[in-house]
């Protein structure tokens, strides 16, 4: 019952995100000064230590915008696996996808997110 409801909720959310069809590209000119400073600080420090309250707000906002550039499926896979630590099997159960599809989605999503951030880091003085 729980799995059935979870799958229905997941598919409903995916359909809503698909219908939005708005995936703006994350570009440097859209970043605020605080966000640019944040990127420079975080990328220059070798350790990803704890963030202060302001940095956390910036990080969450950047994460939302980064995920907004991905397709709903890629976004779901990346959020669940890399963000929440879910296994490939768990994502497959929730979505009804095959495990290989989950892996491919997660791989593509990581690649897209990394490449988007690479562009930002490259333009923010890295």
């Amino acid at each position: 019952m729980e799995g059935w409801l979870t799958r229905i909720a997941t598919n409903t959310c995916l359909n809503m995100l698909r219908s939005a069809k708005r995936r703006p590209e994350l570009i440097t000119s859209d970043l605020s000064e605080d966000e640019t400073d944040f990127l420079e600080k975080v990328s220059s420090s070798s350790e990803s230590g704890g963030l202060d309250a302001e940095q956390r707000v910036i990080a969450v906002d950047l994460a939302e915008r980064l995920l907004g550039t991905l397709s709903p499926e890629d976004r779901l896979a990346l959020t669940m696996i890399d963000g929440e630590g879910a296994s490939v099997n768990e994502v497959a159960e929730v979505t009804g996808w095959s495990e290989s599809k989950v892996k491919v989605r997660a791989f593509r999503a990581r690649k897209k997110a990394r490449e988007a951030l690479e562009k930002l880091l490259g333009h923010s003085g890295h």
Binding site: S48, L51, A63, L66, T79, D82, G85, R114, E115, E118
Partner: protein, 164 residues
């Protein structure tokens, strides 16, 4: 080592799930490859952003609206007491129909149990007077000696009374 190999390692698994040997391989490669160093930093940043977003979402779930619990309990209580309310709604909707059905049933019951009592009285009279007026008047073949005068008179007058 080719650049693709490094990015495939980065993209093949969550950043936090990379093993120590994989991280050592990547770092060793990054010393001589600026592009891969940038890719590594981006992957690290991506992981950091996702973790912050997840922890923020978890905190929001914990620190939900303070009235959330009250509202949930109120809805739950309403559902618990929903039996009486549902009966009232049902009665308002179908009360007239149910009342008319009850009245009809009562009328049928009266007809079933009271009317046979009246018939029983008639049957008792018939038992006392075994001859009807028709049988007395029309049955000419019957031997009149079998009936007394009182029986004939009572049969005729009882049938007349029934006719009224």
């Amino acid at each position: 080592m080719k650049d693709n190999h490094i990015t495939e390692i980065l993209d093949g698994a969550p950043f936090t799930a990379l093993s120590a040997s994989e991280l050592n391989t990547i770092r060793a490669h990054n010393r001589s490859c600026g592009e891969c160093a940038n890719a590594f930093a981006a992957a690290q940043l991506s992981s950091l952003l996702l973790k912050e977003r997840t922890s923020e979402a978890a905190e929001n779930a914990v620190n939900a609206n303070p009235f959330f619990q009250t509202r949930v309990l109120a809805v739950w209580r309403e559902q618990q007491t929903g039996g009486a309310w549902s009966f009232r709604r049902w009665w308002n909707a179908t009360g007239a129909l149910v009342a008319s059905m009850a009245a009809t049933t009562a009328a049928l019951a009266v007809l079933m149990f009271v009317a046979p009592a009246t018939n029983t009285t008639d049957q008792q009279t018939a038992a006392l007077v075994p001859y009807s007026a028709e049988s007395v008047v029309l049955d000419q073949d019957r031997d009149d000696n079998q009936l007394t005068n009182d029986q004939v008179i009572s049969a005729i007058y009882d049938d007349d009374d029934e006719g009224k």
